[in-house]
Symmetry: C2
Subunit: 206 residues, 2 copies
């Protein structure tokens, strides 16, 4: 559909918004018109925050998490347990795990998972950096693989395990099973089957 | 939920996106991380288009449509029929009607509808400007009211009709009825009832 715009500036802004994933044309128009109704300072703050983020943001040189400094605040926090590294696919996973407040160790952001279909091989991820970290830092006792339970995640887990095994570090994977409040009858067969095979002793506090 | 961010720049950008209507926190994170993966020029183009729009955009001094110039391209187009003004609520309606390619007259953008519940009275809309236009421009023969078929739209239609009647201009409203491809059984009673009362003679080309 060709769309009529009475303003080239409007058209350009709508086109830019419509490039964002999951934002269709109608939504883009709605968002842009919303911004137009805001005062100038608010719109400058919006545009400025985006431009500045892209320009100034860094990635931690230790764990590759997004950071405002060369070493991220998790890696440089003396209260974190330095003997455990949790390997995740991207920085959203760091945020999700931090929100659980159940983990006090360090992270390593892979930047993806091995996916031959998408042309992503081990060399495209921060795997060498992880190996180097585990080898150099003798404090590290355990690497927790916290990747998505997909074919690509499992492939990557397997590859990482093979690479990490010679270092003597303990390698674990996050537990899989029925999610809290899920209804058993709607769980997929693989998950349900594994949850029975990998059952755990009953504990009263569970 | 307090959210952990390892970067204040990231947090600020996510917060700005999450202010947009219909954009929740998770979507905001997804959009910002998408922008982070784009090259710097693309992100500058995105941010720049938004800032520039807000800074430079104008509203047509005749019809109040969004415009890059003092008088919009519709108002200054000599091929448009100057004897008809179509009154709409906002600029999205202009875009929607232009896309139908069924209308060749001019527009007048009210900037909303009368809504006492939201504290919007006639003085908050461009009604005086419309009256002034109709009074001054003796070419104008008809004003088409193309507002939403809501209580507020009907209230505004009635108010506009009362104000316009003394000028002698013809006032019409867009047709209401069953939408193309709508199933009759799902139409609301008011629409269906009115569509029978306001039936039109059968025409073969319909």
């Amino acid at each position: 559909m060709t769309q009529h715009y009475s303003s080239a500036l409007l058209e350009r802004a709508v086109d830019e918004f419509a490039k964002l994933p999951g934002i269709g044309h109608k939504t883009a128009v709605r968002l842009v018109l919303h911004l137009l109704r805001q005062d100038a300072a608010a719109v400058e703050a919006f545009a400025g925050s985006v431009a500045r983020l892209r320009r100034e943001v860094k990635f931690c040189r230790v764990c590759h998490n997004i950071s405002d400094t060369d070493t991220c605040e998790i890696c440089s926090d003396p209260r974190r347990e330095r003997n455990t590294i949790c390997v995740v696919e991207d920085i959203r996973d760091v945020m999700a795990i931090e929100n659980t407040q159940q983990y006090r160790g360090l992270y390593h952001v892979l930047g993806g998972v091995i996916s031959p279909m998408d042309g992503i091989g081990p060399g495209d991820l921060t795997i060498d950096s992880l190996l180097e970290r585990v080898t150099r830092d003798t404090e590290v006792r355990e690497v927790i693989l916290a990747l998505s339970p997909t074919v690509e995640g499992d492939t990557t887990n397997f590859y990482l395990y093979r690479r990490l095994a010679p270092t003597g570090v303990r390698v674990s994977v996050i537990a899989r099973g029925i999610a809290q409040n899920d209804e058993l009858q709607y769980a997929d067969e693989v998950t349900l089957g594994r949850s029975i095979v990998n059952r755990t002793p009953f504990k009263e506090e569970n």
